[in-house]
């Protein structure tokens, strides 16, 4: 009797499983049911930033830029789409400077919270990982935190980057060094110690320097070419190679935590070079605080924005005033890029008149807007894989704590000092 019952029960269960499988809805049907109306009551923008972890300082800077842009947009009721003014809301999560977390949270924002569009996180490594989710889900992803060309040469159609390429950053720095070399302030030929983080960001920097050196006709020679792990704790091995090489120029590409650690060990190793740079890092106020102003003097950095661009008035001045009013301090390039990335997205939403993915993607691809960034224009050209392309500004730390723009000359607000006075005596 018991065996018969079990047999019948098993057959019934099997039939039930087949029945529910047969009448199952498809994924497409489920998605269609969730489609949005054309003009929503609110535009929901999803984003993650590294608010904790190694990149927390910079993540918080980007957050300030994002929030300021949202506040400014909502002051007049929001964005104009479909003849209506619709408020915008930022759904911001902390990706803890972890790539897997950044990916998972993007999945959550897109597929569970149903955000209309994504703003990117900060740092190349995180953007490179996270952008795959946006591409998979075919939702526009606008970021101001990923500069490496590796993000944009994958053939993705939904990823837009507001940071100009790192290779151009390296080239701009080399142009300034060459100018100083021609003025007799840097040895000719000059030997370069080149250190780069082993990310696509670092590889782009390395390529920029190497290509420039190769085309310089012997004026520059790379004598140390070493990579290091992102978020390293010990650089003594690479720095000892730099020391024994006797190079004239110290060119490193590092993110903020690695810059602080490496510069501390650089100073304690009694190293000094005619030119010293950490790529885009060097002018951060908290780094000067951590290392001591005397240990960051004369460091050169090429950045995507400098607060002194505000002296030209216009949108830059408006942004700086709005930022100062809210945060009582001067913005750095991180906040400016966060702000400008959001503004680019908002401009595209208004151009598209919709938050539907395809029209918005088209609007971003065709965007031409006046910008606070050097060059005054922001667009996402198709030929660069939708990565913005505009000039960098080179700045140099001075003992008074300021970092004036020293290159290009038409934007310069101060005079460059080379060779590094720290090496005298």
């Amino acid at each position: 009797m018991k065996a018969v019952l079990v047999r019948k029960g098993t057959i019934l269960l099997g039939m039930l499983a087949l029945l529910i499988a047969a009448c199952a809805p498809t994924e497409d049907a489920a998605r269609e049911a969730g489609d949005e109306a054309e003009v929503p009551d609110e535009i929901l923008v999803g984003a993650t930033l590294p608010l904790t972890g190694e990149e927390a300082d910079n993540g918080l800077r980007y957050q300030e830029g994002y929030e300021l842009a949202f506040e400014v947009a909502n002051e007049d009721g929001g964005l104009e789409i479909g003849g209506e003014t619709v408020p915008v809301r930022l759904e911001l999560l902390d990706d803890t400077t972890d790539q897997a977390t950044a990916v998972n949270l993007a999945e959550r924002l897109i597929n569970r919270d149903q955000v209309h569009v994504m703003l990117g996180t900060y740092s190349t490594a995180l953007v490179e990982a996270q952008s795959t989710v946006a591409e998979q889900n075919q939702i526009p992803y606008v970021n101001g935190g990923g500069a490496a060309t590796a993000i944009y040469d994958r053939g993705y159609q939904w990823i837009f980057g507001a940071l100009a390429p790192v290779e151009l950053l390296a080239t701009t720095q080399m142009e300034w060094i060459q100018k100083e070399q021609e003025a007799g302030n840097v040895p000719d030929p000059a030997e370069i110690a080149l250190l780069w983080e082993n990310t696509s960001h670092g590889e782009d920097y390395r390529k920029g320097v190497q290509d420039f050196a190769e085309q310089s006709g012997g004026s520059f020679e790379v004598v140390v070419d070493e990579s290091f792990e992102l978020d390293s704790k010990d650089f003594s091995a690479v720095l000892s190679k730099v020391k024994s090489s006797g190079a004239d120029l110290f060119l490193a590409d590092a993110h903020l935590p690695d810059y602080v650690t490496m510069q501390r060990q650089y100073v304690s190793s009694d190293l000094c070079h005619d030119v010293i740079t950490y790529g885009a890092r060097g002018s951060e106020a908290d780094a000067a605080e951590a290392l001591g102003q005397e240990n960051v003097n004369y460091i050169l950095s090429a950045v995507w924005w400098n607060a002194q661009l505000g002296e030209q008035g216009g949108q830059n001045e408006q942004f700086i005033n709005a930022y100062k009013e809210r945060y009582n301090t001067d913005p750095e390039w991180y906040q400016a890029l966060g702000y400008e990335t959001v503004r680019a997205l908002f401009t595209a939403i208004e151009d598209a008149g919709s938050v539907e993915p395809e029209p918005l993607r088209e609007a971003l691809a065709n965007l031409e807007m006046e910008s606070i960034l050097p060059g005054g224009q922001l667009s996402f050209p198709e030929e660069t894989g939708y990565q913005a392309d505009y000039p960098f500004v080179v700045q140099q730390n001075l003992p008074d704590g300021s970092s004036p723009i020293v290159y290009p000359e038409e934007l310069a607000t101060g005079k460059a000092i080379a060779p590094n006075p720290n090496c005298e005596g």
Binding site: A3, L13, A129, N198, S227
Partner: protein, 359 residues
């Protein structure tokens, strides 16, 4: 049921087969019946993959008693090799996963064969060293792993990611069967004998070297395939995540939370781990690691068999009593609870035999 029993090998329970088929049917049809969003769909897919990896960790950590902190090494090897194969060849993805798994298993054997002669904390420390060395090599081997940035896989068209749910389910189901076989068959008894006392096990004819190597190979294979599926799911992997110490710890945590040494405990542990992580990390990113630590302490202090032990207590309240088996391995008589408690060798039988053999 009697007919089913006749078809099955002696170590397999007909009730377990029915439960397995039912569970598989439910999980197979779940996304077709409940149209949950693709985020939830993805979380369950991840849970299947990690459940398989946690079971594989449990074969070594739970069945043999060799706690490994180095399984991330195999996860990473499998993941990166699969990814590279998918990027550079036209292999079907499942072949790339298997090749990645085999490479991970071979790598496991390479470092495991010498280190498995160590026991207890010495083995655990050795696995930490292996894992960290592998991570560093992978991080600096930029041409293969993409360095600290990692590598992106081609984004597949259509519903390929959606269908990974079922591939992950097949994989987990296969590993459940393997886990059951390893635990219930004669091999499982050999493993438990090694866990209790490696010298005594050798004395009664259980080859500790062979058994441990075989288990590590299988464990590496499964964890390597899990790494491959993980890479296909995320379409982006990087060495810090794949080879990191946190990855190794996560396998251990899943085992401990679910119940070390049990068959299905790691599955429960993996589901709890993945779901907790997903929901906590968005709201309390600073707290979730602390919460795992607290959970670990609570489990170790109050319920060493984790969630499995908790479920057993509840089942006992309803009158369930695990079947006690008398098993003979060589000349030694062992007493075993059917599930989930591990074999308890009677002191009076094993101890004198071991002492005699040592003498």
């Amino acid at each position: 049921m009697r007919q089913l029993t006749r078809w099955l090998p002696e170590w397999a329970s007909p009730w377990a087969v029915v439960a397995f088929v039912f569970g598989f049917a439910v999980l197979y049809s779940l996304p077709l019946v409940i149209s949950f969003d693709s985020y939830t769909h993805g979380i369950i897919t991840q849970a299947f993959v990690f459940a398989a990896a946690a079971m594989a960790w449990n074969w070594l950590g739970g069945y043999v008693g060799q706690i490994s902190f180095g399984h991330a090494a195999m996860f990473g090897v499998g993941g990166f090799l699969s990814a590279r194969l998918l990027l550079t060849t036209s292999f079907p993805f499942w072949i790339a996963w298997i090749v990645g798994g085999l490479a991970a298993a071979s790598y496991a054997l390479l470092w495991g064969h010498p280190t498995l002669r160590l026991r207890g904390p010495y083995f655990a420390i050795a696995t930490i060293g292996v894992s960290e060395a592998t991570r560093l090599i992978a991080t600096y081997w930029g041409d293969f792993t993409g360095g600290s940035s990692g590598i992106s896989l081609p984004i597949s068209e259509g519903t390929a990611k959606f269908s990974l749910y079922w591939y992950a389910l097949y994989f987990m189901a296969f590993v459940v069967l393997l886990s059951y076989y390893l635990r219930k068959s004669r091999i499982g008894l050999g493993l438990l004998a090694i866990k209790e006392d490696v010298d005594a096990a050798q004395d009664v004819g259980v080859s500790a070297n062979y058994y441990q190597d075989a288990v590590l190979f299988l464990s590496g294979l499964v964890v390597g395939v899990a790494g491959g599926i993980y890479a296909s799911y995320f379409v982006f992997i990087e060495p810090g995540d794949m080879f990191g110490f946190e990855r190794s710890i996560s396998f251990l945590l899943m085992g401990v939370i679910g119940g070390v040494g049990t068959i299905l405990g790691p599955v429960l542990g993996a589901f709890v781990f993945v779901i907790l992580q997903e929901y906590l990390i968005a709201s309390y990113p600073d707290l979730y690691l602390g919460l795992y630590g607290t959970l670990l302490i609570v489990v170790i202090l109050f319920e060493p068999l984790g969630l499995s032990g908790l479920l057993l207590r509840i089942a006992r309240l309803f009158g369930y009593r695990p079947r006690v088996l008398d098993i003979t391995v060589g000349d030694t008589k062992l007493t075993a609870m059917e599930e989930p408690e591990a074999v308890e060798p009677p002191e009076s039988d094993v101890e004198p035999a071991r002492k005699e053999a040592k003498a």
